[in-house]
Every structure is written in structure tokens, then in C-alpha cells.
Amino acid sequence: MLSARLRPASYTTVSLWFLAVALAALLPADLHVTSLSPWADLRRLLDGLVRPEFVAVEAWSVVYTVAFAVIGVTLGAGAGFLLAIPFARFRSVRLVCACLRAVHELFWALLLMQVFGLSAATGILAIALPYAGICAKVYSEIIEEADLSALRVVPYGTGAVSAFVYARLPDVAASLRHYTLYRLECAMRSTLVLGFIGLPTMGFYLESAFRQGRYGEAGALLFVFYLLIGSRRLWVRARTVPVLIVASLLLLPKTVGSTEVWPSLVRFVTQQIVPSPLRQGALLDPATWSRLWAWTQPIVTQQILPGAAQTLVLAQIALVATAIGALVLFPLTSRRFAGRLGQPAGRVLLVVVRSTPEYMLAYVLLQNLGPSMLPAILALSIHNAGIVGYLMGRHADGLPYRPDAPTGLNLYAYETVPRLYGQFLAYLLYRWELILRESAIFGILGVATLGFYVDAAISELRIDVAVVLIAATVVLTLCVDALSRALRKALRIDTLPMRLSQPMVKGAGG
């Protein structure tokens, strides 16, 4: 068939295009290592990490990290579930959800802080809002993918809720549970990162420890964090969930000061986020609108355009670096390549890598290598290569091989990689949007992506400018998402599994 002959060619074309764009992006990218002794610093860091000082761990920060994540996911997944029902039918719901999830948790937190201060409400909503958008989309996909045969035999006149609960839910419950548990893992990473901007989670103490060079304390905090994530299946169970939610509610941090939430909210909506020319001038006065134009123009030319360009440069390089990293790493987690003993070790390595929040990794690398794009690229590609590598390893072991299949490099290059390449591209194209969202955020750490300008606007208390910039990141994210979807469709890999929590299709991607 023609399409069958075109497919391998277009895999190559797409891959080469991405490679070419990334190589071109290397030209304007700033990759200097400005630190004079990066290796000495990194060695001190590793030294401290392997000698964790557990007495230094602030136990409450661990409790708050879990509590924020549990309640954030409860609200986010609950709202997401309700939104999942009209998701497929209404374009407006899809758009709202897309916007909710295109804004990064940290951006949400920076905005929410203006109203709720450094309180539990900021932490919880910063998780719940984007997660509602993500959960709505994924839950609706899971429900769409479900088997409809039970629904067809439901007697005529059954109510919508009964039909859903008895005929559809049993079929999708396992997938929903699986995905929600995965979201909780993500939420723990997100809450940790929220500590970096001042919420009382583990990230608060990690940031201090890294900044002050107390690497033993940082090592202990990280060890506790990996332990929490690694053991999540033990403490998150059907029976423990209500207990977890109630306990989290009771244990939320007491806010130190009392924020005047209502007046702050009113001020935020009616003043802070309204572009300043509109705030000051009369709406019917044409001069107000020309001032608005004069206000918007420099934001677009001096902040949005250069910021978006740098964000794309970072994202494209990181995406290709992720691809290369994943291709190198995945044999480590495959039994066929790494052996019976090597595979578990490889898995532990990649689970640790994927549990490490990219933002924290970027923060640490920026401290030790100096301010350039290089630490950001490394952080993004290490984290994402860990995830894609882990998934590919699982697929590699799921492939049916002939008894006389070659071994080693021959097997890898001539059989495993070609057979899995479609799946590999599907994962990467899916992660493209996530990498872009994270690239924008890294600006807060000093790389000149869109987040850099958001940070500047917030520190100048120009919340209106920050909102415009965040809206620009949303548009950029939505464009990349649409492009990724179109490419996946064109390559006919849009039905392959893409999510980390998704069960594998046996022998997929051939």
C-alpha cells in the first residue's frame, strides 16, 4: 500500500526536520559555562547528596507537601471529572480546559499569591486549577476509549447517571484510578517546586539548602521525597484515600497573617489585571485606546517576541536532546539489553530521574554552571529522557522477537529501534508541549524565556503586564499542542499510548 510505503519515509522526514531546527537553534542559544570551577562545585554537591543529614529535615514541610498535593489533586481531579463529561461535546469546555492546563503551576501560584498571599489556598489552587484542565482532557479520552458493549445492553429509559455508573464506570475505573495516582505523583513534584517561591513545602527548605550549600540537608530532603514517591502505592489505596483527604485538611499550614481575601480579590480583578491605560482613562475616550496601543506595543516587541523566541529555542534543543537521551537510556531498563540484574537497577535510576522536578534540577545546575541556556537544556532533557526512556524500555520488553533474533547493538539498531520508532515519536511529540511549558517557566531562574519577563513584571508589581505575558505563553503552548496533534495524525501514531500511566499495547509501534 502507498501509505505503508510513505510511513517510514515520513518518520525520517519529521525526525530530520526536528533535528535541523534544533541545530539551527543552537546558533542563537547561549551555552557558556561561566562558572570558573563547575566540577569542584558539582563534586561538593554530590558529596553532600550521598551523605544526607536527616536530622535537618523539617518534618512539617513533608506533611505540607503531601497535604497540598492530596487536596490539590482531590479538587483538580473532582472538577476534571465533572468537566470530562461535557468535554467531548462542547468546544468552549475544551478551550477553558486547554487554557487552564497551559498555564504552569508556578505562574498560577504567582498570580494567586496576589490574592491569597503565601497561604494554603494559594498552594492548593495552584495545583487544582491546571490539574482540573489536564484531568478533564485525559478522563474524557479514557472514557471515549472505553468499550461500549455494556452500554448497549442497558435497558431503554435508564437514567444517564445510572447508565454511566453501571455500564461505563466499571470499565474505565481502573484507568481513572491509575491516572489519578499518577497525577498525585506529579502534584507532589509541583508542590515541592512551589516551595521555591515561598510556600512552606519541602522546596522552601531545599531552595535554602542549595543556595547556602548545605548539600547534606538537601540530600536528606531529596531522599525523603524519592521515598514518598516510590512508596505511593503503599500509602495511597482505596481505603486510605478518605483518611488522607481528611488528615490533609486538618494538617494544612496555619496561615501566619490573615489575608483580607475579599478586598484583595476585588482589587486583583478590577485593578491589578486590568491594563493600566484602561484603568486610568475613560473607556469611551479614543485617547485611552491609543494609550492602550502604546502600552501594548513595547510589551509585544521587547518582551513577548524575544521571550517566545528564546522559549522555542530552548524547547526545540531540549526536545531533541531528550530524544537522543531516551534512545541511549532505554536499553538500561529493558531486560533483553540490560539483563536480569541490570534492568531493575536501570529502572531505579530512571524512576529517580523522573521523580526529580525539572525546575529544581535547573535551579541546581544554574547555580553550579552559571547563567546560560545550557543548565536549562540539561535539566529538561535529563528529566524527560528519564520518562521516555522508562516507557520505551517497557515497550522493548513487550515486543515479540523471533527465537533467532540478533543480540546487542544489531538487535538495537536493526530491530528494536525501528519497530518502536513510531511509539517513540508519539511519546516525544506528546512531551513537546510539556517541555515548552517548562521552558517558559525557567525564565524565573534567569534564562531569557517568557518567564523571565513575567518575573520582571511581577517584581515591578505590573500584574497586568504579567497576565499579558502569561496569555502569550498560553497561545504558544496551544499552537505547539495543535501542531503536535496534527503531526501525530499525519504520521498515524495518534492512537498509540502516550501517557506515562497508560497500559501498553502489546507489540505496538511495529
Binding site: 498571599g117 494554603a120 437514567g159 515561598g198 522552601f204 535554602s208 485538611l249 481575601v261
Partner: protein, 295 residues
């Protein structure tokens, strides 16, 4: 569809309970008098500084006093403007930002050193520069780090002096790379380790870090001392008299001015606190407007 409506109703109830719990958690405690300070230097020193101030103020004011730690300058301003804290140790510029947002708020006291504050321009010694009286114009084209974005001695004033020395140019046109270290101790470390060639730093933090043995004179030195400007101050919200009784802000001012114990003053790098008014910071507003940091 009434089934869905019911399901949504149940969820809304659950959400209300959860949100109510969160608000409950916020309001259950008796309102304490809360203060914060900009995180302008080494965090260990901040913990020491504000821990002592909290117990001192609690004793003098007779109300529970709590310190709210923040991670950056803008969080301190936000906490002040949305009423999370009533008192804050601000830099000159963050004080201006905060008081513009809170009508009735006032500057109570500044350090004796803050009336004529200075910025040090520091350089890595491999540049081979020595201290001079004139602005170091020859450093154009090097890399330069400010402190926090809204720091007075680390950003606002140094940027102003750079713009004066190079008319019609912005700092990122003068220098090859501009960074924002976040705080002064970090600025010193970044210039010392060579990540940046030059930096602008609060002179009191430079002195404190030098005394603490964290500055290596072989690697970093002061190359220029700026003209004087007004800097840090304690600012209080206008509504404290309403909440804690008439005369509370006067009592607070007296307590701040009465800090004479060197144990309290040393972590600030100040000899004593003196009275100040909002007007002392009018020049900073003008500077903020010329560099576009204020509207």
C-alpha cells in the same frame, strides 16, 4: 439530566467543605502581629535577625508577634499590600512600592546608615581593577550582576548610575550580560567565583560578609563607591491602630527606635534606628520613574 445536576451539587458541596476547611485553618488562630523583611542576604543571618526582632517586639508590644519568611522581594511587598503582614523591613524602593499600594501606610524608622546609603561596585580581581573615585566606565562590555530585581542598592541605584555614565543606553546595552542574583551575599559569591565579572552590592552586606570571612580579597574587590541615597526602613500599614488600638503605631515606632542591644542590631549591620518619614524616599520615586520601574 437531573442526575448530573445532583452529582454536580454533591461535588460543589464537597468543594465548599474543603474550601471552608482551608479558610477555617486560616482563621482559627487569634490574629497575631505579623512582620516580614526583604530577603536581601544570607538566609542564616535573616533567621537570626528576625527571630530576635520577633521576641523583642512581642515583649515591647505585649501582643503575639510572628515573622513570615519570604523567598523574594516582591513577595514581601505583596504580603504587605494584601494585609498578610502589618510591618516590614523594606529596601528604599520596595518600601516605595509597598506604601503606594497601601494608603495610610508610613515609614517609621530607618537605620542610621540608611540616610546616606551607598552601593559598592565590585569586580573579580582577574580584571585587575583598583578602587577609583570616578565611575568605572572602562568596564563596559564585561558581564555584570545586579542583586534582586527590585533591590535599591543592588538594582535601582546602580542602574541609575550606569544610565548616568552612559547616557541613552540601558544596562544590557552597556554590559555583555546582565544578571539578577536575587540577594547581595549571592552577588558577592557570583563575582568572587567569576560567574560574573562585576556586581553591585549593598555596602553593609559587603562589610558583614567580610567580617564573617566569606569574602576572599584575593578574588574580589571594591572598585567604586556610589554617591549617597536613602535606603532601608521599617514601614507599617495604616490600619494597625484600628486593629490593635489607638497609639499602636507610635508604640511600635518607639519600640523600633529603642532597639539598642548590639545583639539585635548586629545582624542588620546598623548602629541604631532613627525616625524617618515617607518624604525621605521621594527622590527614589523620581529615579524609579526615569528607569521605567515605576509608572
Amino acid at each position: 439530566m437531573s442526575g448530573w445536576a445532583r452529582a454536580i451539587g454533591v461535588f460543589a458541596m464537597l468543594a465548599t467543605v474543603v474550601a471552608g476547611g482551608a479558610v477555617q485553618a486560616q482563621n482559627s488562630e487569634r490574629p497575631a502581629f505579623v512582620f516580614t523583611g526583604i530577603p536581601d542576604q544570607d538566609e542564616a543571618r535573616l533567621v537570626e535577625r528576625y527571630g530576635r526582632v520577633a521576641s523583642y517586639l512581642q515583649q515591647k508590644l505585649g501582643v503575639p508577634v510572628r515573622y513570615l519568611p519570604v523567598k523574594n522581594y516582591s513577595s514581601a511587598v505583596t504580603a504587605f499590600s494584601n494585609g498578610e503582614v502589618q510591618l516590614a523591613w523594606f529596601g528604599g524602593f520596595t518600601g516605595v512600592q509597598a506604601r503606594r499600594l497601601v494608603p495610610g501606610s508610613q515609614a517609621l524608622a530607618q537605620g542610621a546608615e540608611d540616610a546616606a546609603f551607598r552601593t559598592y561596585f565590585i569586580a573579580n580581581t582577574r580584571l585587575g581593577l583598583v578602587k577609583a573615585a570616578d565611575f568605572p566606565r572602562g568596564t563596559a562590555g564585561r558581564t555584570f550582576t545586579f542583586g534582586a530585581r527590585s533591590s535599591t542598592s543592588g538594582r535601582l541605584m546602580p542602574e541609575y548610575f550606569i544610565r548616568q555614565a552612559f547616557p541613552d543606553k540601558t544596562p544590557d546595552e552597556v554590559y555583555a550580560r546582565i544578571g539578577y542574583s536575587g540577594e547581595h551575599s549571592r552577588t558577592i559569591q557570583l563575582v568572587q567565583s567569576g560567574v560574573f565579572d562585576l556586581g553591585a552590592v549593598d555596602y553593609t552586606v559587603w562589610d558583614l560578609d567580610t567580617k564573617a570571612g566569606r569574602v576572599d580579597p584575593e578574588k574580589v574587590n571594591v572598585i567604586w563607591e556610589s554617591p549617597p541615597f536613602a535606603n532601608n526602613q521599617w514601614s507599617v500599614r495604616g490600619d494597625v491602630d484600628h486593629t490593635w488600638g489607638k497609639g499602636f503605631s507610635d508604640k511600635l515606632r518607639q519600640a523600633l527606635l529603642g532597639m539598642s542591644d548590639p545583639v539585635l542590631l548586629a545582624p542588620f549591620g546598623r548602629s541604631k534606628f532613627v525616625p524617618v518619614t515617607n518624604d525621605a524616599y521621594a527622590p527614589l520615586i523620581a529615579v524609579g520613574k526615569t528607569s521605567g520601574m515605576l509608572d
